[in-house]
C-alpha cells in the first residue's frame, strides 16, 4: 500500500488532491475481476460511480454488472452517488444469497 500515497498537496491544510480507497470484490464479482481486493487512487471528491468507471476501463463487464450491485462503504450500505474519502473500504456487493 506504500505506492498509493497521494501526491503532495499545494496546500497541506486542505483535503488531499487524491484519495486512496480499498475496494473489495466478492463471489461472482471476485471471479469477474480476477482478484478479491485492490487499492484504487482517485481524485478527491470521487464518488462510488467514479470508482466504477475507473475500474471498468480494465474490466468493461463491470459496467454491465453495476446496475445489479450494491455498495458498502466501511460496512454500511450506501448508494452509488456516495462520496469516497481517503482510506475508505468500498465493497462491491452482488445480490446476496445467504440463508
Amino acid at each position: 500500500m506504500a505506492e498509493t500515497k497521494p501526491p503532495p498537496s499545494a496546500s497541506p491544510a486542505e483535503a488531499p488532491a487524491a484519495i486512496s480507497v480499498r475496494v473489495l470484490f466478492f463471489a461472482s464479482l471476485a471471479d469477474l475481476m480476477g482478484e478479491r481486493r485492490r487499492n484504487l487512487n482517485l481524485p478527491a471528491g470521487s464518488t462510488i460511480a467514479d470508482a466504477l468507471r475507473d475500474m471498468a476501463t480494465d474490466v468493461p463487464d463491470l459496467a454491465v454488472r453495476a446496475p445489479h450491485v450494491s455498495f458498502a462503504v466501511n460496512e454500511a450500505f450506501v448508494t452509488a452517488d456516495a462520496p469516497l474519502s481517503d482510506g475508505d473500504e468500498l465493497a462491491l456487493i452482488p445480490p446476496v444469497s445467504g440463508g
Binding site: 463471489a27 461472482s28 471471479d31 460496512e75 450500505f77 465493497a91 445467504g98 440463508g99
Partner: protein
Amino acid sequence: MIVELTSDPIDVPRLIEHVNQPSNGGICTFLGVVRDNAEGRPVVKLGYEAYESMAVAQMRTIVEEAMQRWDLDAVALSHRTGELQIGEASVAIAVGAPHRAEAFEACRYIIDTLKTRVPIWKKEFFQDGAVWVEPVSSQPSTQ
C-alpha cells in the same frame, strides 16, 4: 445473544439451549439445509462466502431489531461459511419468547431479512460446473 459465522457444523442444540430461558414458553427455530437440487437440477454441494465483518454486523443489527420489536431476551443466529454437503445446515436461528406468536414472527423476520441484506453468497456446485446464486429480487436497500 449468539450471532456468529462459523466454518464448523452448526451446533443446533447449543443455540436452543441459549434461548431456553426460564421466562420463555416457546422456542421457534429455523434451519436452512442444503437441498439436493436447485429447481430440479441435482446439486452436489454448496459453498458459502461472506464479507465476514459486515455480515456479522448486519446479522447483529437484524437480531437487535427483532429483539426490540418483539421484546425478546434471547435470540441465537449462526451462519455457515465454506463448503457444505447435502443435509447440512447453512443457517440456524433460535428465538425464545414468553408466547409462541412472537417466537414464530421474530424467527421468520430474521431469516427473511437476512436473505435480503446480509452479505453472504451461495455457490451451487453441479456435476458439470458451479454458479453463484444471485436472486434478482434480493437487492439490499440502502440503509
